[in-house]
Symmetry: C2
Subunit: 219 residues, 2 copies
């Protein structure tokens, strides 16, 4: 197809397509004349990937990282996917006072018995999230952690089971997009599950019931 | 305690304390002279709550909503907590083209058999997240939804079980902060569970193994 058709097929404006070509994010088409090139399904697919990655908040430099890993995978699946996932936000905030030992995250991961790569951004992300919980006065308890860990593992197992293995591109694309795109789904589902469970537990109850155990028992 | 002691105890700067007093977010102290007021533990606690709510991204107007609900709860626990939770980000983006029927979210909630309040922001949030998954080519399947739904419910049950019921303030504070503050913890735990499970499943495997079932079998 010609570039105008690529624009229609991908929904990406011509100026943006040209920009991605110049930046090397989109592979060049096959020259069909001095001024024209021919594009195919791989170009449509690549544009969809770039669009999707931009949609989950990746800046151009990080999109480049992912696209390069698709084109030149690392030695193993684990390495390739791991490096691609490291391109995802949130990006670590370096601060001078921070010790970067990630002691909170490491304690949690040891309790869960998980192997982890200390330089993987999710370790820093977990450490920051645990510190925030402490700061607001609801630190992570072992009871909560054990329950969260068990259920999150169940979710992660399904994620891995459903991973396509037909090509490097499919695997990397699924890992990066699936990690980012299902996070807000899970967050919204949790808020809605709270509502459903709360509707049953607290139906009609007033705060007086909370503080007076007898009235609570009668219900 | 005097206002200078309140500043030390809360870690909130004097100018900010005065601002919260003017805005009615912090209840006034007890006048001890024409120019001085006496503050107590409730002021320290309120400042900690305001700080925590600001820390999870609530703008001042939404912090006011939560604080008012603590001071003047609605008739039931469910209503009070529900209204407080509606103050949490992400905030709905109204768009002209959007139909606002939330058909995707409603289909999901019906499949999960959950009751929900259609005006609750998490419904819109779920709908947007499901639309994003479709846009990037990995729509939510029933298989994934059923697994996610089951595990998220397990997490939400623990959240409700651990909810303090000694006072309105504790309950509202826990609901709002716990919802917001544990979301990044859960997201980071999922990414790290992927790594742990992936390390075991893909150890040493190359992409050739993916596409050649025989080599995969031999491992």
């Amino acid at each position: 197809m010609r570039v105008s058709e690529l624009v229609s097929a991908s929904g990406v404006p011509l100026a943006t397509v040209k920009y991605y070509l110049r930046e090397g994010l989109l592979m060049p088409g096959e020259a069909s004349s001095a001024t024209q090139a021919e594009y195919g399904e791989q170009h449509v697919r690549r544009l969809a990937l770039i669009k999707a990655l931009a949609g989950v908040g990746l800046p151009l430099g990080k999109i480049r990282t992912v696209v390069r890993l698709v084109d030149q995978p690392a030695d193993t699946v684990f390495d390739t996917v791991g490096r691609a996932l490291a391109a995802l936000p949130p990006y670590p905030v370096e601060s001078a006072e921070q010790s970067n030992d990630y002691l909170r995250a490491r304690a949690v991961l040891e309790r869960l018995g998980q192997v982890y790569e200390p330089s993987y951004p999710a370790v820093a992300q977990l450490d920051r999230a645990l510190a925030a919980a402490e700061d607001v006065g609801i630190p992570m308890t072992d009871e909560r952690l054990d329950a969260y860990g068990r259920h999150i593992r169940g979710i992660a197992e399904v994620d891995l089971e459903l991973m396509p293995t037909d090509s490097v591109e499919s695997a990397v694309e699924y890992a990066v997009l699936g990690t980012a795109i299902y996070e807000p789904v899970l967050a919204a589902l949790r808020r809605l599950a709270h509502q459903d469970i709360g509707a049953a537990s607290f139906a009609g109850r007033t705060f007086d019931d909370f503080t007076d155990p007898h009235r609570q028992d009668e219900q």
